[in-house]
Symmetry: C2
Subunit: 545 residues, 2 copies
């Protein structure tokens, strides 16, 4: 039996485009003599469809795609994920399902049993869990289908679940397993995934074909990395990360035979690749093709520019330097050097005259009150306004350059440097930004050395440094990580040896900045706990602040 | 037996404040000779605590409050909602529980069984559902406790659930029911609630004491309306809406005897009261006391100003008129008349000079390109910037005045008129805005008649009218309501008789504005489907657009 796996980039709700992608994969599979082609979880509508699932019309349109695929299934089995209506009155209205279409009929229908409802996942909001399991037969082979999370409760060791779907099916002696996934990237997940798949294969002693999707869905990034494991527990082949892929395997060759094995892992490179894909897909799926961003001469905007140029092409990225009276000459020089190294266009618009007119306009109302954060924020907001004017005039989409450390403690101006259609670095801590910059510079100096080496500064008042308002990033970032990623409380973090005053100050800053993050742009997610829908905090909460 | 119910306004995570509120209610109950006092769902930590529940430290602090309450329970039973740790390894880490504390011991512990996981609710994200049920005895009376949603699957008629907790307990012959709720307001819910409670009482034939919380938690508004039903199915008494309340009842007097019965319902007044409470509580809980808003002379900003003055006092609300070259003189006059009628302070800052400097600054880069939406948005953003400058300088919080019709179709400028700490009207359709304005003017003309009667306009170019870009609100609003509240698809709405082209145009506008709403301020929720966490849509989704 020959099995094709198609790792595709779906667009949520874009049914025609999704169908066309799958149609050409079916054609390719047929040409390669495949008996079966497998697509990923909820492939027909894209993942995560969120509350679109509450529209009967959306479910109808999904089923139309299933029917169109069904018509293509003469002599080739098509396995594809789609939402289906739960025929029972009791329970949620839908199942998260996998169809097996063969000879223009539905040969088999499987539903997902383990429904993730944590972090960015809300599957219990929509889906009823499956409670009965069976395998199906195709051309003399017996096949067990699971959907994504279904293989993550092996031996019932995952405390979140009480069912292990493969345990229910193994008695029917399947010849191999198919898993349809929509498993998003984070910089730890790709390794965990192989471990879990291997453990499944070792437990059941049969091969597994694991089919993931790829591509950015605004904030949520899917890395692909679909994989085939032989019955012996060896990784036969892992498909590419961050791009579409297609491959066909002979069932009898995936066990024992030497495949290419797993791909090498490189956290920093993977994060860069994920961000580049995230930018590219956001633009493509939103129907845009040009980006603009403010270039301050600092490392964050430089890194964002480099990633944007890789994603969209340097001729589709425009940089704006907007020096204020407090900007150093060197900052503009660094920004120009960066833009030249990347080959992107730029312009320089000093904000002094707009800033001056604003101050004159406000003076009668502010009287003799001394300058304070008002005037600092004003400069940031003038920049946001100028960038948005370019965005409106030339259909540029503004990229936000805030990093995760700043976003965490609220070191940024709402409607100023927090503007943007997409926050590229807001899930990357400042200390990680340096590693990513080094990766960008691995072959030649693109990000100027001085942008990397100078002490971080917002340059909104004379001689300002980030460390005037924040602990140094080497201290800040690990505390943030314990609090945000690990969800440790103050006493647990202090017990690790951190200064109690600093810990309390940092946690207070994080919680008090909730109102800013609520209005921040969507954040490309590369960590297990990113700002956005994966982290839901009450704005008015008084906890730790 | 005498039963006290305390309808209090909790602050999420503000454990000391919550404890103090409950402590004085316990004292009052004791003085009134009560045998039992009942607080609402998750009272110790406030509802909804969201991902704070994932912090062990937060759960510990909740339990400390439970222990402090326990120490107060000599001779009086205290029934209070709190999260508790699930002792089983399998399943979610927590239960949503109700403690019965008596004589300084835990007399009984009940867990919630029906966990809402729709709209703004995410209870499956945190809680394991209860699967075993029992009543408890106090001073010779047997009592059945349920928590909020637990009474909403009467006779198993709610398709979302398969268990009916009271059915499990009624065999133990309880003398009465206690329900601890955190049931948020929407303009239909208060009536449904009485229907459900009455149906429970009729089915089980015993009285029910239903204890809700009250107060705004940023976007989510709790209306109180705690209620006592006699065994005969009559509403004995309903406590006040939108304020704290406390009452004590003799168990033997709630059935048969004539109480004050249910409160009158008035949708428009309730929405106004809810919005006033929402503004007041947001400010109080965030530690602010002064609001600013832009006064355009239009009805939306006028209504917002009137609600803010009621919430905070007119001397705590500041209005800014910011006429542009395209503003009519009449608009400023209307804004001044409104401010005078409300007794609030205001200032007028024409934006012409800042707008001029911005245009001059941009001219070298925009060349001879004709004015377009860029210059319109620029005016809106200059206003946002000036309002935020006042906000920074004087610690005003900016109130957003966008209505739900505008928010739905994206008729507003990101970082311009979409700025604000809180969106007061963004769950109120334009056609409702007129009804609310009439309510504000019920005794005297506060909102000028001309603000109400003139055709809506953004005044960002000569002779602009909303209807240049939008269908008339009388057509727009019902279509929006079918799509947003009722989740009807295009074919279903068209089948109701609406013009197909208009329907498709409106739905496309809604879906294409997702990126704006993502960055909008939190919206005071008064409808069953408000923008925010209750409506989760993919930004890059291609559905209907």
């Amino acid at each position: 039996m020959r099995i094709a796996i198609a790792q595709l980039n779906y667009h949520i709700g874009n049914f025609d485009a999704n169908f066309q992608r799958m149609e050409s994969a079916v054609q390719k599979a047929r040409q390669s003599g495949a008996d079966l082609i497998c697509f990923s979880e909820l492939a027909v509508c894209g993942y995560p469809p969120r509350d679109f699932l509450e529209f009967k019309d959306f479910i109808r349109k999904s089923m139309e795609v299933v029917n169109r695929l069904c018509a293509l299934s003469q002599d080739i089995a098509i396995v594809v994920g789609a939402p289906t209506v739960n025929p029972e009155i009791e329970g949620k209205d839908l199942f998260n399902s996998a169809f097996v279409l063969y000879n223009c009929k539905v040969l088999h229908l499987a539903h997902k049993a383990l429904l993730p409802n944590y972090d960015i996942f809300d599957e219990y909001r929509y889906f009823e869990p499956c409670r009965s399991f069976k395998t199906f037969e195709l051309k003399g082979k017996r096949i067990a289908i699971t959907i994504c999370e279904d293989i993550w409760n092996l031996g019932n060791e995952n405390p979140m679940y009480t069912i292990c779907p493969m345990d229910e099916m193994i008695g029917e002696k399947p010849d191999f397993m198919l898993n349809l996934s929509a498993s998003p990237f984070d910089h730890r997940h790709a390794a965990d995934r192989l471990t879990v798949i291997r453990a499944n294969v070792m437990r059941y002693g049969i091969p597994m074909f694991y089919v993931n999707c790829v591509g950015g869905q605004t904030d949520v990034l899917f890395d692909g990395g679909s994989v085939v494991f032989g019955a012996d527990g060896r990784c036969h082949e892992e498909l590419a990360f961050f791009e579409e892929a297609f491959a066909v395997y002979d069932l009898c060759e995936v066990s024992g035979e030497q495949g290419r094995g797993a791909l090498p892992r490189d956290e920093t490179r993977h994060i860069c690749d994920a961000l580049v894909m995230g930018i590219r897909d956001y633009f493509k799926k939103m129907g845009f093709d040009k980006a603009i961003l403010g270039l301050s001469g600092g490392i964050d905007s430089a890194l964002t520019a480099a990633l944007a140029c890789e994603a969209l092409g340097a001729d589709h990225v425009f940089g704006l330097m907007m020096p204020s009276p407090y900007s150093s000459r060197a900052s503009v020089d660094d920004a120009v050097a960066l833009a030249d190294a990347l080959g992107m266009k730029y312009a320089c618009i000093p904000i002094e005259s707009v800033f001056g007119t604003c101050n004159e306009t406000l003076r009668p109302h502010f009287g003799n009150l001394p300058p304070d954060v008002t005037e600092e924020n004003l400069q940031a907001r003038i920049r946001g306004m100028l960038l948005m004017a370019f965005s409106n005039k030339y259909a540029y989409i503004l990229l936000n350059t805030t990093n995760k450390s700043e976003m965490a403690v609220g070191y940024g101006t709402l409607y100023g440097d927090l503007c943007g259609g997409l926050a590229v670095l807001a899930d990357v801590y400042k200390t990680q930004v340096y590693r990513l910059a080094a990766h960008i510079n691995r072959e030649r100096e693109i990000i100027p050395r001085s942008s990397i080496e100078k002490p971080p500064s917002a340059e909104l008042r004379p001689n300002q440094k980030d460390t005037d308002s924040l602990p140094p990033y080497e201290l800040l970032d690990p505390v943030l990580q314990h609090y945000i990623e690990q969800r440790k409380g103050p006493s647990e973090i202090i017990a690790m040896g951190y200064d109690p005053e600093q810990v309390r100050r940092i946690l207070r800053m994080v919680n008090r900045a909730e109102f800013k993050r609520f209005q921040a742009p969507p954040v490309l997610r590369v960590s297990p706990k990113s700002f956005g829908l994966g982290r839901r905090m009450p704005i008015e909460g008084k906890y730790l602040c």
